[in-house]
């Protein structure tokens, strides 16, 4: 028990010693904090105080000689926020115009290739003389109940008739008389289908193939097959 108490006391006193500054350390803290030492301090401490005070003395002419150069460099190095703000609004229209132009070019190219959806292709056809939409782009309707007419092979006999659609080339009539075609699909009755006159061979019966209303009927292509494809 006695040993334990002694060791406790020893620990306590050593802890106090650790926390307490020695005279030298206390003086050092005063010096570091730029406090004046008393006259009772040894001469060596007072000498040290003078050295530290000199180190922290007033600015010399040499130290302040570069003020003009420093201010000039400061003004030159200042960041300029204004131009950065201007760039934002200016860049946006340029980017938008570039995007619109790119979209237009792509649209025209696709239109020329005839690969646009039918309504857009039609628009392109009217605006920039792009190929008219192909009837093949229409939704196919069942036509199995329609018997091919005698002119079924008529369009096949027309070599080079690339303009006509598959429907007209095969002479297969569409059973759907719904007027889904446009006005350019008027039967001209001359048997010379152009690229825009899709598959309009010579109408088998007057008034059908040459439908002046522009509404092709299911008998379109039922002609005699003397239509001439036109490249």
């Amino acid at each position: 028990m006695r040993v334990f108490a002694a060791s406790l006391a020893e620990m306590w006193s050593s802890a106090r010693k650790r926390n307490r500054l020695s005279p030298d350390e206390a003086t050092a803290e005063l010096l570091l904090a730029r406090r004046h030492l008393g006259r009772h301090e040894p001469a060596s401490q007072r000498t040290l105080e003078l050295v530290l005070a000199a180190a922290a003395g007033p600015a010399t002419e040499r130290e302040l000689a570069g003020e003009t150069a420093a201010v000039t460099a400061f003004l030159a190095a200042l960041p300029e926020p204004e131009p950065a703000r201007r760039r934002g609004p200016r860049r946006l229209p340029v980017l938008a115009v570039a995007l619109v132009l790119a979209a237009l070019v792509a649209l025209c190219g696709t239109g020329e290739a005839g690969a646009l959806p039918a309504p857009l292709q039609r628009l392109a056809h009217q605006a920039i003389k792009a190929p008219a939409p192909s009837p093949a782009m229409r939704v196919p309707r069942p036509s199995a109940d329609v018997t091919p007419g005698p002119g079924a092979t008529g369009s096949q006999s027309a070599p080079g008739s690339s303009g006509p659609s598959q429907e007209s080339r095969t002479g297969k009539p569409s059973a759907n008389p719904t007027p889904t075609h446009t006005s350019d699909s008027q039967g001209n009755g001359n048997g010379q289908p152009t690229a825009t006159d899709n598959g309009k061979g010579n109408g088998g019966t007057p008034g059908q193939g040459g439908n002046p209303s522009g509404h092709p009927t299911g008998n379109n292509g039922n002609g005699n097959g003397n239509g001439h494809g036109k490249n």
Binding site: R46, A55, E61, E63, E67
Partner: protein, 198 residues
């Protein structure tokens, strides 16, 4: 004006705001207040490269002063942290030790009695005092300058030099002890210009 004390205090926020807005006179005020201690710190720790490093530091301050937030105390801590990083970078690139402004042989003469030393030191110049401090190991020297010349406390210095406040305290005490032993047996022979009478 003696350094080691903050002089702008209440005016600092306004001076800082104006400097950040590009006011040359406000920047000049900051520069006049902070450049001498910066240069002294760099003389002790970077030797001949002090002025070059100081110029780099002020350029960096000019670029980043708009984003700085804090008081005068924090500003000094920020600035001296930058200075120390630039000094270390320079040391890495140049791979050489800093050169003291003057050598020990020029600074100190034969030992003399304490009273004589004190009498001679009454005319010690700032440069001579810094040269004396620069004879210490670099870490001790820079800690003493940061505490005495720049006026930072142990915690702020610890942040700058990357040590604990306790380690900073120990290094400062060791440095002062060594310094005291050196000046106790020496007399100063080169008062130089710009000295102060104490």
């Amino acid at each position: 004006m003696l350094y080691g004390r903050f002089v702008l205090v209440g005016d600092f926020p306004e001076v800082l705001r104006r400097a950040a807005a590009g006011d040359a006179s406000a920047f000049a005020r900051l520069w006049r207040d902070t450049h001498p201690p910066l240069l002294r710190y760099l003389w002790v720790s970077a030797g001949d490269a002090a002025e070059d490093v100081a110029a780099e530091v002020w350029l960096e301050v000019a670029r980043r002063i708009g984003s700085f937030r804090g008081g005068e105390h924090e500003f000094r801590g920020w600035l001296f942290t930058m200075a120390r990083r630039k000094m270390i970078d320079r040391h890495r690139y140049e791979a050489r030790r800093p050169v003291s402004p003057t050598g020990d042989g020029e600074l100190l003469d034969h030992p003399a009695a304490d009273d004589t030393v004190t009498a001679a030191l009454e005319y010690i110049s700032t440069e001579t005092a810094l040269a004396l401090i620069a004879t210490l190991p670099r870490d001790q020297a820079e800690i003493i300058v940061l505490r005495v010349v720049v006026g930072l406390d142990a915690s702020a210095v610890a942040q700058i030099v990357g040590k604990s406040p306790g380690a900073v305290r120990v290094a400062a005490h060791r440095g002062l002890r060594t310094l005291r032993e050196r000046v106790a047996g020496a007399t100063v022979t080169s008062p130089g210009r710009g000295g102060v009478t104490l």
